[in-house]
């Protein structure tokens, strides 16, 4: 098992803020919009340096999406920002008609996704957004794993022409990916090679997958661990190439099992290379109030859960 180290835990939303600050300096077409959550989205630096390119929309997310779509006509690149709940389910019809169907170059960038939003509880803990967004034709869906990757993804999507849903979160997590990485949309990242099982993880669960890899190595199991930062378009080749070698797979994500990364991987495997598969995800349930750690533990989104599912799929493979 390859060793990954980190010097600091940081929040992915700050990676977004750092990416926006850099875009503010390098790309004069980038415009930021926000629905009364500037501090939560870490937009302070962008706004301070580019006040004329920041549009405060107030608590009116539907209008924000429409305004963003209209701004693209002038060749501007709007980054519409809010919490993941309010940037997906609340404005699904607006995103569908004004952004996706209309093919507009809008970047919907959302924080506080999933259970790790914590104490605010289930009203704000969106666990269905990946499913909604990946269902939209032409929508790119990205869920990076740490500060550095979120920053790199933020910068990368400005150069990509088309609608993007960029999802990140609130808590601090190990910042282990390289600061100088080039983010390739739709290109999975192999973090560890191994012959026994494929672990496909996204977002905050990528670090948990690495922790699981260490625990499995202690039992003599070498896992192939792949960071699927882009859920759509999905890197089908990377998934098939890995499972053809390992013969079984586990997915891990901070999202509902219905509609998430697990769903997407299951589709690829069942259509191309059926193999034992299990999923670490929230199983048809809303979240609740609690600390991020407590919630991830209670809903089984941990390294230990990944290990248990891995042992199960390996057993099924060997039957």
């Amino acid at each position: 098992m390859k060793t990954y180290t980190f010097t600091e835990k940081k929040d992915t939303r700050s990676g977004f803020g750092a990416g926006m600050a850099e875009l503010g300096r390098t790309n004069p077409d980038v415009v930021a919009l926000c629905a009364d959550l500037v501090a939560s989205l870490k937009l302070d630096a962008f706004i301070k340096e580019n006040p004329e390119r920041f549009i405060q929309c107030g608590i009116a997310e539907a209008n924000m999406i429409g305004v963003a779509a209209g701004l693209t006509l002038s060749g501007l690149i709007p980054f519409a920002t809010t919490f993941a709940n309010f940037g997906s389910s609340r404005v699904y019809d607006q995103i569908r008609q004004a952004v996706a169907y209309s093919g507009k170059n809008v970047k919907i960038c959302v924080s506080h996704a999933g259970l790790t939003l914590g104490e605010d509880g289930a009203t704000h803990q969106i666990l269905e957004d990946i499913g909604m967004m990946k269902s939209l034709p032409g929508m790119t869906v990205i869920n990076p794993c740490d500060f550095n990757q979120t920053k790199a993804a933020t910068i990368a999507i400005a150069d990509y022409e088309g609608p993007v849903y960029l999802r990140f979160g609130r808590p601090v997590v190990p910042n282990f990916t390289p600061a100088d990485q080039v983010f390739e949309i739709g290109k999975a990242v192999v973090l560890n090679e191994g012959p026994d099982v494929s672990i496909f993880a996204t977002g905050h669960l990528v670090w948990q997958a690495l922790e699981a890899g260490k625990l499995l190595a202690e039992q003599g199991i070498e896992a192939e661990i792949i960071n699927i930062h882009t859920i759509k378009p999905l890197d089908k080749e990377a998934i098939l190439q890995s499972v053809r070698k390992t013969g079984c797979a586990v997915t891990a994500e901070e999202h509902q099992m219905n509609g998430g990364l697990g769903d997407s991987v299951a589709q690829v495997l069942s259509l191309n290379y059926p193999a034992p598969l299990d999923m670490v995800a929230v199983n048809d349930s809303f979240g609740e109030s609690g600390t991020p750690e407590q919630l991830m533990e209670k809903y089984g989104l941990t390294a230990a859960s990944i290990v248990a599912k891995v042992l199960s799929v390996i057993q099924r493979k060997n039957k």
Partner: protein, 285 residues
């Protein structure tokens, strides 16, 4: 263009509308007929549109350096398609494909088929004013001194998003935006004040910070004059909203004074009766 000429175009557009809707036995003639005079005035008189050396209109998605129009109540697509075709954005013959398979003239306006003149999809109501606000904001950022027009329905004013945009636009001083409400008092399920009363729309927009004008949307002279007044009122820090009184079904007697022709196509006999009331001024498609 002189008012008499505009009226001739409007008559042809009304013929196109009823023929298009009849041709596919679906679509929305009522609101289309009511808004015909407005769209003819906008595209043939009011708006500053990009043209080439031979004075033909040229469409580019950005709308840079020209006025722009957004149709929020996308179901009145027949009037928009007819006016765009008659203005030269695409061949008039293409109107015969309205709502049919593989057509660029979708039931509700869309960009996916690349129909010249359409910049964003509309149909799910309440969204156009926000898109127009973004377009107007973009013109401000790019220092492009042109206007953005947005037409909405009065029933559409029941959508919550309209009021998000109605607050945003004056707050951001988008004085290059002119909103127009088709005040025909009808919606699918009946009179608007019975279905869900909008109360005094003019007072509401004024309270939100708009300059409000009123016009008779079926009097071409009033339309031309009021649109010019709205244009002149721009650039002073306040957006303009025009409450446009129209008659749904205007120009075809049996389609007027009722909500029943909101989304109903005429049969053969009704088509004949309608066309008998509308002069063929520019030649049918």
């Amino acid at each position: 263009m002189k008012t008499d000429e505009l009226k001739k175009v409007a008559s042809q557009v009304r013929r196109d509308i009823v023929r298009m809707v009849h041709g596919v036995a679906s679509g929305h003639p009522g609101g289309s007929l009511g808004c015909t005079d407005l769209l003819v005035s906008l595209y043939f008189q009011t708006m500053n549109l990009k043209t080439d050396d031979s004075d033909s209109v040229v469409f580019d998605m950005s709308g840079t350096g020209e006025d722009m129009f957004f149709l929020s109540n996308g179901h009145i697509s027949p009037v928009l398609y007819s006016v765009l075709a008659r203005r030269g954005y695409f061949p008039v013959s293409e109107l015969a494909t309205f709502r049919k398979l593989d057509s660029r003239l979708q039931g509700h306006p869309a960009t996916a088929e690349h129909l010249p003149g359409i910049r964003i999809a509309s149909g799910s109501l309440g969204q156009g004013l926000s898109a127009a606000a973004g377009a107007a904001y973009g013109k401000k950022i790019r220092k492009d001194n042109h206007r953005v027009y947005c037409l909405m329905g009065d029933g559409e004013q029941q959508e919550g998003q309209i009021w998000e945009a109605a607050a945003f636009i004056p707050h951001r001083k988008l004085d290059n935006l002119i909103a127009i409400i088709d005040f025909n008092g009808q919606q699918i399920d009946g009179p608007t004040d019975v279905v869900l009363n909008n109360r005094d729309l003019g007072a509401k927009y004024e309270a939100f910070g708009w300059k409000v004008l009123h016009m008779d949307g079926n009097d071409m002279d009033d339309v031309v004059t009021t649109l010019a007044k709205a244009h002149a009122a721009g650039g002073k820090g306040v957006p303009v909203c025009i409450i446009m009184k129209t008659e749904m079904g205007q120009g075809v007697d049996f389609m007027m004074h009722t909500h029943k022709w909101h989304g109903t196509a005429p049969n053969n006999e009704q088509l004949t009766a309608a066309l008998a009331q509308l002069d063929e001024t520019l030649g049918d498609y």
